[in-house]
Symmetry: C2
Subunit: 94 residues, 2 copies
DNA sequence: ATAAACAAGTTTATTTTATAAACCAAATTT
DNA sequence: AAATTTGGTTTATAAAATAAACTTGTTTAT
């Protein structure tokens, strides 16, 4: 009937992050912040959660002298996202 | 870019309830409980929220001697559901 | 007839999430 | 050198989801 919705992905901001990451090689904090419109704090927290779940990989480097946080989606993350898409669709049919 | 997700519908159980109601004339508490697998308490709370939002209409009657709670989706509920479907799809494209 | 179990919920309490506000360190601008 | 901006993190607050406990009445078994 209805499939379970992965709670980690069933969150507006985390889903947006994953949606962005699935389409690109990598994306940094600033880019994700612009595209999602999230506050820094919220974004920071949600990136952490996705990272801890192994759905994304986070690299902290320096761009010249400024810090730069780069995110990439993992294989696990891709699978989870695809599963979520299947699952949510089970709720959308009339 | 990403559309807002109506918080009232972005909930696994409430979305399941709406998904069921959009396909039928009406459905009672017991039916919704079976189909969703939710606990009575959770179902009761979520039905209330949808009712207060005007997304569904709730009728409490008696079936013989036993109470019977019947739910129907409203026009407002249908519109909100359709909006939600559009919105969530904006997150699902690769 | 009475106690035990069941039905259909509701209410209250607890845990989990999401979000915002406050903060920090370093860099840049005025 | 003071003020502002950048790129975040940490802590606190508000809102949600969920579960546990309770209620009211009914049916079944003793």
């Amino acid at each position: 009937m209805f499939k379970e919705l992965d709670p980690l992905l069933h969150s507006q901001l985390r889903l947006a992050i994953m949606s962005l990451l699935i389409g690109v090689e990598e994306a940094d904090f600033v880019f994700l912040k612009e595209k999602t419109g999230a506050t820094s704090g919220n974004l920071s927290v949600q990136i952490d959660k996705l990272n801890e779940a192994g759905y994304i990989k986070v690299d902290k480097t320096f761009q010249g002298k400024m810090p730069r946080t780069v995110c990439r989606i993992t294989h696990k993350g891709i699978r989870a996202f695809e599963e979520y898409v299947k699952a949510i669709k089970s709720y959308l049919k009339k």
